[in-house]
């Protein structure tokens, strides 16, 4: 049996793929336990200690915000209450790993229903997530991004199934949990405009009155989505505010408005923020306060308008990619936000069709981070002042690499015809 046939055999069987995905996470969990028990260098993510400390406070009937640097919804600490029980410390990691697997399962379902892919092919592309060592490591180290992955994938699943109530509830919760999923609102509304999810053939649409257009836009599904997402978002907020008061608002939302984010990260704004947040700033004008303009314009407005009609999931990928690229803060955890959309985009992307382009894009994306990491290492551990020009240039180089990849994505998605309505074109 050749190597490729073995690979094919694995992807032909859901048991083999999910079995490997479970095994990968189980091995990492156990390895993590061992490393934590015997090494002073911990496998467990620092954030996990923040969550579990906060969960312990909640368990004691106190506020999770008593833990420094806890900047999440108290719901996360609630979910992790079992970690405060004796011997249940790893509960959260198991939960995050299960959330990963569930997200992977939903990907398989979406790929084989909406995209009408054969099972083996669906499993192969879902493995970008399921068997991705980066994804498995992040969740087993105890980062909550995995939980968000399942919420966002379930959100996509619900909307594709036209389960608008569930989608609304998940969207509201997602925004409450991490704010950024609000960028998916517009593509959802656009997508829901017609019964089958495609743009209605606008016969004489250009002549229709503005009122008609607006009414069509605000069809029943759109209203349902708006109402349920608002209800779910606000009821989470009101409940949390009722219980935890101002610290909840301060740490979950206001913190993101006032944070300085001076510590070096991948964002192209980082050096400017470091400079202008400090007393050394030369102008009283805060350029960086306009940073949200290109970010929101592209990720929440322009990309959905241009691409939603072609493919919803890929549009969400491009949106998230643009959001992260133009964000004022960016660490490698943020990359996880868009990895869960890759299985929907890659099958029809030029990155896979033109192998050389795909390889170059992959290498450049990693190289951009490597340059930055090298400069960061010089600063963090060698004490060299690499803020300017080294780190600054590295963030800009990485930014342009991301912009280039974003351009490829937009072109790919824009030129592909609607995936949901005519899947046969994509599948040979």
């Amino acid at each position: 049996m050749s190597f490729t046939t073995i690979i094919d055999a694995i992807f032909a069987s859901p048991k083999a793929v999910f079995g490997s995905a479970i095994a990968l996470r189980a091995v990492l969990l156990v390895y993590g336990l061992l490393q934590d028990a015997y090494s002073p260098v911990k496998y467990t993510d620092i954030d996990y200690f923040v969550f579990t400390d906060a969960a312990r406070f909640v368990y004691q009937g106190r506020s999770p915000y008593l833990r420094d640097t806890y900047r999440y919804t108290p719901l996360l600490a609630w979910i992790l209450i079992p970690t405060a029980w004796d011997g249940w410390f790893s509960f959260g990691k198991v939960l995050f790993a299960l959330a990963d697997l569930l997200a992977g399962y939903l990907m398989v379902v979406i790929l084989s229903t909406t995209y009408r892919m054969p099972q083996a092919r669906a499993l192969k592309f879902a493995s970008i997530w399921l068997l991705n060592p980066m994804v498995a490591t992040i969740s087993t180290r105890g980062s909550s991004e995995g939980l968000l992955g399942v919420v966002v994938t379930a959100l996509l699943y619900a909307i594709l199934q036209r389960n608008v109530v569930l989608a609304g509830l998940l969207l509201g919760f997602g925004v409450h949990f991490k704010i950024y999923p609000f960028i998916y609102t517009l593509p959802f509304l656009l997508w829901l405009r017609s019964p089958d999810g495609t743009r209605r053939k606008a016969k004489g649409g250009s002549k229709a009155s503005l009122k008609d257009q607006l009414l069509r836009f605000l069809n029943r599904d759109c209203t349902t989505l708006a109402i349920f997402s608002f209800v779910s978002f606000m009821s989470c907020n009101v409940l949390m505010f009722y219980i935890y008061g101002f610290p909840f608002l301060k740490h979950s939302f206001l913190h993101h408005l006032t944070r300085i984010d001076h510590r070096h990260n991948f964002s192209p704004y980082n050096t400017l923020l470091h400079l202008n947040a400090s007393p050394a700033k030369s102008t009283s004008f805060h350029l960086e306060s306009l940073a949200f303009v290109p970010q929101i314009l592209l990720s929440a407005v322009a990309i959905p308008f241009a691409l939603t009609a072609n493919d919803l999931a890929s549009t969400m990928l491009a949106q998230t990619f643009a959001f992260v690229t133009f964000n004022k803060v960016c660490t490698s955890q943020y990359f996880l936000w868009y990895i869960n959309f890759l299985p929907f985009y890659l099958p029809s992307s030029s990155l896979l069709k033109q192998t050389r382009l795909g390889v170059v894009a992959g290498i450049l994306w990693i190289l951009g981070q490597a340059i930055w990491l090298q400069q960061g290492f010089q600063l963090e551990f060698m004490g060299q002042s690499t803020f300017v020009p080294g780190l600054w240039m590295a963030t800009l180089v990485f930014f342009f690499i991301n912009i280039w990849i974003l351009g490829i994505m937009i072109r790919d998605i824009g030129t592909q015809s609607n995936a949901q309505s005519s899947p046969d074109k994509k599948e040979r």
Binding site: L275, S278, G383, F387, I410, R411
Partner: protein, 545 residues
């Protein structure tokens, strides 16, 4: 005014009583090879107006200034602190202490970042329930010398013609430490200065004069004797009170003492950073041999008091440097660095704040160190004994505000002397800023039988920062530091900073990059939309036909 001047002789065998000559209103001392403590107590009425106006706002005020050169501990003078200026302060229950910071700055130097007790001081925790004699607020500044105080005394306090006053003030430049104590109950200010030897290296030859009948001057020429009880110290020698005694009176007395040198032990410790320090310096405390708990003074063969003693380091961290309390909570991590626990941490402990948003001076930490005695590998102890023993404390740096560092002419500063030479501008050519780091005192804290007795000690020294974190019934056995870096007990950390020379470029470059990226993505989107529309139109046209 009352004065008490104590000479503690280094070598009593060289002493001859004729070196002390008592006259009616004066005493003459010649060639005394001794440490010297000069303690002056002022009544409120004897103080200048600006001083008592500030003191009236205090419930308690304790100022401790310690020289960068390590003190050679002798007799009762063995307590240690980090070098620099420490202020411990308790406010009155009502009213504000708005005069304190201006006074401190006026007296000890203008460069201090003291705004007000509320804004600049930190609140150490009260760890011992039964007692706290410690003050409620704490301030620190790396003040390398007392030259500002000396200038203040010469210009503002000493009468212009009083040469002795000016000379006494100048002698403070050589002092190893200076204590000032005030409390609202006694309504008096006590100032204590200590020299571990006459400087420059010649013995003391001095005349003390009583100029007013209201003045009390008491002189002691003493030497350490062997104490009969553990936790006690004995001193013998001669005492004389000016105006009362015609000749020095021999004396021998014992008293319980809070602070001791580590009995019969040559062990020393050396503080240093692993290089390069980066943004996460590690402070190493290396002991010349593994530290063993002190044995009772009287019987060195007795069991070490390990059951009731623990080794500690007390860190005074300027705001640029901080400790992560969560990092120091994992037992495995702690033991891998020969630490046992973070006993106390107070002040600026925010893990995310850059230095420019931190308003208070920094933080103070008490860390319990592990010693070979508590490791279970007893069988290896003999092997341990020959080796050095190192405890490592992980620290982190805050980002400093960007500044124009290219303009600074000098390169990185390697030694404290070089740092002192240019410490006002602080910047180096290689885009780093050099920050002094006071090395911590290291000591064994042991449980004593009873605590109240220590107040009897005429040389008792309290309010040192760490003593308030222990119960009243605690004895401290201090380990002597090795002099480092040209005899200085101060470390240096080079902190990388952003050079503002680049500020214009960063602003323009970032804006252009973002604009370029945005425009390009918009163009791609526009092209896609345009193509789609065309395609649809073509399709539509086909259908119409």
């Amino acid at each position: 005014m009352r004065s008490r001047i104590t000479y503690l002789q280094h070598d009593v065998s060289q002493f001859n009583p004729s070196q002390i000559r008592v006259r009616k209103d004066s005493i003459e001392l010649s060639k005394l090879d001794a440490a010297k403590e000069h303690r002056m107590t002022f009544a409120f009425s004897e103080l200048p107006r600006e001083l008592w106006l500030a003191l009236k706002q205090c419930h308690e005020l304790h100022v401790r200034w310690v020289s960068m050169t390590p003190v050679q501990g002798v007799g009762p003078y063995v307590s240690r602190m980090s070098p620099g200026l420490h202020v411990f302060f308790s406010p009155l229950s009502e009213g504000t202490a708005d005069r304190l910071c201006p006074l401190i700055k006026k007296v000890f130097g203008d460069g201090m970042d003291c705004v007000s007790p509320q804004e600049s001081f930190i609140s150490p925790p009260i760890l011992s329930e039964r007692f706290s004699a410690s003050s409620s607020l704490q301030y620190y500044h790396v003040t390398p010398s007392l030259k500002d105080l000396v200038a203040y005394l010469k210009e503002k306090i000493c009468p212009r013609s009083d040469e002795k006053c000016i000379r006494d003030a100048a002698s403070l430049l050589d002092a190893k430490y200076l204590d000032m104590d005030y409390d609202a109950i006694s309504h008096s200010l006590t100032v204590t200065a200590f020299w571990d030897r006459a400087c420059p290296n010649s013995p003391w030859t001095e005349t003390h004069l009583r100029r007013e009948s209201s003045e009390t001057i008491e002189i002691g020429v003493l030497n350490a004797e062997k104490a009969s009880e553990p936790e006690e110290q004995s001193l013998g020698g001669f005492l004389a009170v000016l105006g009362q005694d015609d000749e020095p009176k021999p004396t021998l007395f014992s008293f319980p003492s809070r602070h001791h040198a580590l009995p019969s032990s040559p062990i020393k410790y050396r503080a240093h950073f692993s290089q390069p320090t980066g943004l996460h310096p590690t402070l190493h405390l290396t002991f010349s041999s593994p530290p063993v708990p002190p044995s009772p003074i009287t019987s060195p063969d007795a069991e070490p008091m390990s059951h009731s003693c623990a080794l500690h380091a007390y860190l005074t961290l300027p705001s640029q440097i901080f400790l992560d309390r969560y990092q120091l909570s994992d037992p495995l991590f702690l033991s891998s660095r020969n630490l046992r626990s973070l006993r106390s941490l107070s002040g600026e402990t925010d893990l995310e704040a850059p230095d420019w948003v931190v308003s208070r001076w920094g933080s103070a930490a008490l860390i319990e160190l592990a010693s070979p005695a508590d490791s279970r590998l007893d069988h290896g102890e003999n092997k341990h004994r020959q080796n050095e023993w190192t405890a490592s404390i992980p620290l982190h740096l805050r980002y400093l505000s960007p500044r124009n560092v290219s303009a600074a002419s000098n390169g990185g500063r390697g030694s404290v002397g070089e740092w002192l030479a240019g410490w006002k501008n602080g910047a180096n050519a290689n885009n780093t800023v050099t920050t002094p780091f006071p090395w911590p005192p290291v000591f064994w804290a042991c449980a004593a039988d009873s605590g109240d007795k220590f107040a009897v000690n005429p040389f008792d020294r309290t309010n040192l920062g760490y003593d308030g974190l222990f119960g009243r019934q605690t004895v401290f056995y201090h380990i002597e530091p090795e002099a480092l870096d040209g005899g200085s007990f101060m470390g240096l950390v080079n902190i990388p900073v952003m050079d503002t020379e680049w500020a214009r470029w960063v602003e323009l470059g970032t804006v252009w990059a973002i604009a370029l990226g945005t425009v390009w993505v918009c163009w791609v989107i526009g092209k896609v939309v345009f193509q789609n529309r065309n395609r649809k139109q073509m399709k539509g046209d086909k259908k119409h036909r």
